[in-house]
């Protein structure tokens, strides 16, 4: 009896442990600082000419990692002053329900940036497909999201942050960055 209880307990703990989202390598505050700078180099869509830069932070309610990262990202963006040399910005949490809903929300709320939090691993592909043709910068808090279809991500290499850029997806979403900043990125197709 005791053995069964222990085995069950171990199974639950193991499952609880295994069911985990990939965590961000680069601290989220540093990601936000980098994002704030990268936005200055977005040529298309014309983010800098917007009266307000709207950022959607996509979270998944069933994932504590996602909720935590969402809260941290929002707090970090709240602390940032005017972006890109003077543009005001606001940031809101968007709960992921479906790729189509996300795409519609992006269009209706005129979001300039979508930030995907950890825990959305399974949703990146469908989101990327739904966002084709929409001129929105997508950023992944986890660098592996870039291969899945997010345009920009941050990876930690030897303790240094690096930027990863998905050129193919950027073309699909008509996002263009200045050449000066592209030189600083690792490009994936």
């Amino acid at each position: 009896m005791a053995r069964s209880v222990l085995l069950s307990l171990a199974g639950v703990v193991l499952w609880w442990g295994l069911a985990r989202a990939e965590s961000p390598g680069v601290p989220l505050q540093l990601q936000v600082d980098l994002c704030n700078k990268v936005i200055e180099y977005i040529q298309q869509p014309p983010v800098l000419s917007l009266d307000r830069i709207r950022i959607g932070i996509v979270v998944k309610r069933s994932s504590p990692e996602s909720m935590r990262a969402g809260a941290e990202l929002k707090a970090a963006f709240d602390r940032v002053g005017p972006m890109a040399g003077g543009s005001p910005h606001d940031q809101s949490i968007i709960e992921w329900s479906s790729a189509q809903t996300l795409a519609e929300l992006t269009r209706s709320q005129r979001l300039a940036v979508l930030y995907f939090t950890p825990g959305l691993d399974g949703e990146i592909g469908s989101s990327a497909a739904a966002l084709v043709g929409q001129r929105v910068m997508t950023i992944g808090a986890v660098d592996s999201f870039v291969r899945g279809g997010v345009i920009l991500g941050f990876e930690l290499v030897s303790g240094h942050p690096k930027m990863v850029f998905n050129l193919k997806q950027a073309k699909k979403q008509e996002v263009v960055l200045r050449a000066a900043v592209m030189k600083l990125m690792r490009i994936v197709e």
Binding site: A19, Y41, P64, A71, R79, S158, G159, L184
Partner: protein, 744 residues
């Protein structure tokens, strides 16, 4: 040193506005460059933070630096790329010092060495290993986080000089199957410690120092059900036979130094006794929230001399050896519980086993019945198991406050003994100093981080350590970092640390020469430091000052005649002994100085460069005596430059270590006349690395290094009554290395 500080201040003051103006004029990505130049470190606060905000002076050495500059061991990385940290090589295990303080004979017990957060210091004697004996494959290292200064606030004992955390690569960065082969050669040296030019004869190849390292590494991503998992690891074997080294002959009566030198003469050439054979392996499996690491290393080594406080070995004796095995398992788990709470748990177990044999053909250290020599043996083993649980909670609406609380518990089992064996048969003749114990210790620690506004971060914490043998100790830390202007960060830190006396220091006995010291107290260090870091684009500069006070420093002290007599009357020391020693809390250290660092890159990162400088004042103060800190220099630093020619062309790196003169370890011993120094060091290393153009999966590394110095600050004992009859040990001055790595 004051002049140096003023000069650095003037240089900094002139550089700052010029660099700022240049950044505004020509570099429109300079702010982004500055952010990309940030290093992320998790050692100082047990959470990932940028180096500008960590509550300590911390630097990262990257895998790219290790490759570019031909780094082979942690000790190499400290010397050629580190700030404020130095490794002194005694032709074997390196001794580690930091910012002017190095305790010779300490076997690395004043610095805490972690691998992926797992403490590797031996719980029997506190030792940490920073050369090949660390058993950390260099290719597997993602980066090395070096935190200078006291670090007991989160790590407990041994973190007095600093904490080094080796972070290994993920499977993403070490993908596939890797085969590694490396070979190195060093020319023999004559008795003037000059390299001997190659000759075409049958003797020369046997005199050349040679080593090789072969390894197989693995990085593999896979899924366990829906859970992403990865496996990384490497197994390797390192084999090194040192070059023939020349030692100036010293006459000493009719002493017998063994079969490789005439009776009454210590010296000549050593060609048998300098070797290391080290198989090792490291494996890390990560699946979901779980991480399992396995680490093992075995060292069989010999060095060609005995230090002054060691038993005298026969000259060039290959049978005086050290065998050490170490294994560790660490199971970690972490989980985000809610949007504000996360938790980390660890379970770990380590075991070590070390045996030493020193053969001597003199009567020194042997029993009265062994006038023709003996074999001194010692053996120690330890096993320790522990668990750690840590939780972090973020507070306030903007999450600007975070509290971390952790608890750790550990059980240790230790045993050691020493003895004397017969020189001819090897059979034990006498045994003493047998000690066995099981002990437990635990700790509770907490850290509060608060950022009232983005430009200011405050960090305060403390750790309460409890040990069933040593009592308790509280180690606090308080730090503030502030962005004082664009790219400029000022930091002030106060921290304390302790080193618990080891089982051996407290309980080692030898009825002929050592008295146990059960009342020994922990060594304590308190430190205050202030630093300023400026980032402009890819250029970074750091200037810092520090002041530290050490107390209760443990030293081996000779008993007074009255104390010796009392110990003999109590039966603790044999009545035939004429002297004996005991470890005591007898010294304190007064230490201050400055650190400076500059690094940057140009041409899109192809040209990178950097330099580090440390200038210190350190004095060891015992009752009525003030001594210089021996072995470690008061001025040291390094400089590096590398260029990536791009494409299939190589990356060429040049690195140099420079130190001031170093006081020899025996120089302040009783009876030694004058002060004896090892000369200043300049050590150069040129490395070329890249991919073979027609076979991209094959990488190569070629490096050559040369030391413009002749001796290390360690004396080789000749065993005579005159403490001046010693010789400083030579430096292995030149090495060329060829390495290949093939990735499938």
């Amino acid at each position: 040193m004051r002049k140096l500080a003023v000069t650095l201040g003037i240089l900094f003051a002139t550089w700052l506005p010029a660099a700022a103006a240049r950044a505004q004029d020509v570099s429109d990505t300079s702010d982004l460059d500055a952010l990309l130049g940030e290093t992320v470190s998790s050692t100082a606060s047990k959470s990932a933070q940028t180096s500008t905000t960590v509550p300590a002076t911390a630097i990262n050495v990257t895998a790219e630096d290790l490759r570019r500059y031909g780094i082979r061991t942690l000790a190499d990385a400290y010397n050629f790329l580190g700030l404020g940290i130095i490794a002194e090589d005694g032709l074997g295990q390196a001794e580690i010092g930091s910012r002017g303080v190095l305790f010779t004979y300490d076997a690395g017990k004043h610095i805490l060495l972690l691998i992926d957060g797992h403490v590797t210091n031996d719980q029997r004697n506190g030792a940490s290993f920073h050369s090949y004996g660390a058993g950390i494959p260099i290719e597997l290292i993602d980066h090395i986080e070096i935190m200078l200064g006291p670090g007991s606030v989160l790590y407990g004992a041994n973190a007095t000089l600093g904490v080094v955390n080796v972070v290994t690569k993920s499977a993403k960065d070490y993908h596939g199957l890797q085969l590694i082969a490396e070979s190195a050669f060093s020319p023999p040296e004559n008795q003037a410690h000059q390299p001997i030019a190659p000759r075409l004869d049958s003797q020369y190849p046997r005199q050349v120092g040679r080593g090789y390292r072969i390894g197989v590494g693995l990085g593999y991503n896979f899924h366990l059900g829906d859970t992403p998992a990865e496996l990384t690891g490497q197994l390797e074997y390192f084999d090194f036979t040192g070059p023939q080294l020349g030692w100036t002959p010293i006459s000493n009566g009719n002493f017998n130094y063994g079969p490789y030198t005439p009776i009454g003469v210590w010296g000549g050439n050593t060609q048998r006794s300098y070797f290391q054979r080290i198989p090792s392996g490291y494996l890390r499996l990560q699946a979901g929230n779980w991480q399992l690491t396995l680490h093992g290393v075995f060292t069989h080594a010999s060095k060609p001399y005995s230090r002054v406080q060691e038993f005298l070995r026969d000259f060039d004796d290959p049978h005086s050896t050290t065998d050490r095995g170490y294994g560790a398992i660490d199971l970690g788990w972490n989980r985000v519980i809610s949007s504000r709470t996360s938790m980390v748990a660890r379970f770990y177990g380590d075991a070590s086993d070390e045996g030493n044999r020193i053969r001597g053909s003199t009567f020194l250290g042997c029993l009265g019945s062994q006038p023709n020599g003996c074999i001194r043996t010692s053996h120690g083993a330890a096993q320790w198991f522990g668990t750690e649980l840590q939780t972090t909670v973020k507070w306030l609406a903007d999450l600007s406050m975070a509290s971390m609380v952790g608890v750790e518990a550990r059980v240790r089992r230790v045993n050691f003994e020493s003895g004397i064996s017969d020189l001819a048969t090897g059979l034990p003749v006498d045994e003493f100093a047998t000690y066995r114990a099981v002990s437990s210790n635990g700790a509770l620690y907490g850290q509060q981080v608060y950022s009232p506004f983005p430009a200011l971060a405050l960090n305060a914490g403390g750790r309460w350590d409890w040990d069933n043998q040593l009592g308790q100790r509280l180690s606090p830390r308080a730090a503030a970092t502030a962005e004082v202007w664009h790219g400029g960060t000022a930091k002030v830190v106060y921290s304390e640390a302790f080193r618990a006396p080891t089982f051996e220091e407290r309980n080692l006995t030898n009825r002929y020469r050592v008295l146990a010291a059960p009342m020994l107290s922990p060594e304590i260090v308190r430190s205050f430091e202030a630093s300023f870091q400026q980032r402009i684009g890819r250029q970074r500069m750091l200037v810092g000052v520090f002041r530290s006070w050490w107390s209760n420093v443990v030293q081996s002290e000779r008993l007074s005649q009255a104390e010796l007599s009392a110990a003999q009357r109590a039966g603790l020391i044999d009545s035939s002994a004429v002297s004996a020693s005991q470890f005591r809390n007898v010294a304190r250290v007064d230490n201050y100085g400055l650190n400076a660092s500059y690094e940057g890159s140009l041409r899109d990162g192809r040209l990178s460069y950097g330099a580090n400088l440390t200038a210190t004042y350190a004095r060891l103060i015992t009752a009525g005596r003030t001594e210089l800190m021996s072995v470690t220099p008061s001025l040291f630093g390094n400089a590096r430059v590398s260029y990536d020619f791009g494409g299939a062309r190589p990356v060429v790196g040049f690195v140099s270590q420079v130190t001031g003169r170093r006081l020899a370890d025996y120089s302040q011993d009783p009876g030694v006349i004058g002060m004896h120094y090892a000369p200043p060091t300049i050590d150069f290393r040129l490395t070329g690395s890249g991919q073979i153009p027609w076979l991209r999966a094959l990488q190569y590394r070629i490096s050559a290094d040369y030391a413009v110095t002749t001796t290390n600050p360690y004396a080789a004992s000749t065993g005579g009554a005159d403490p001046n009859k010693v010789e400083l040990i030579p430096v292995n001055r030149a090495t060329v290395l060829f390495g290949l790595q093939y990735g499938f």
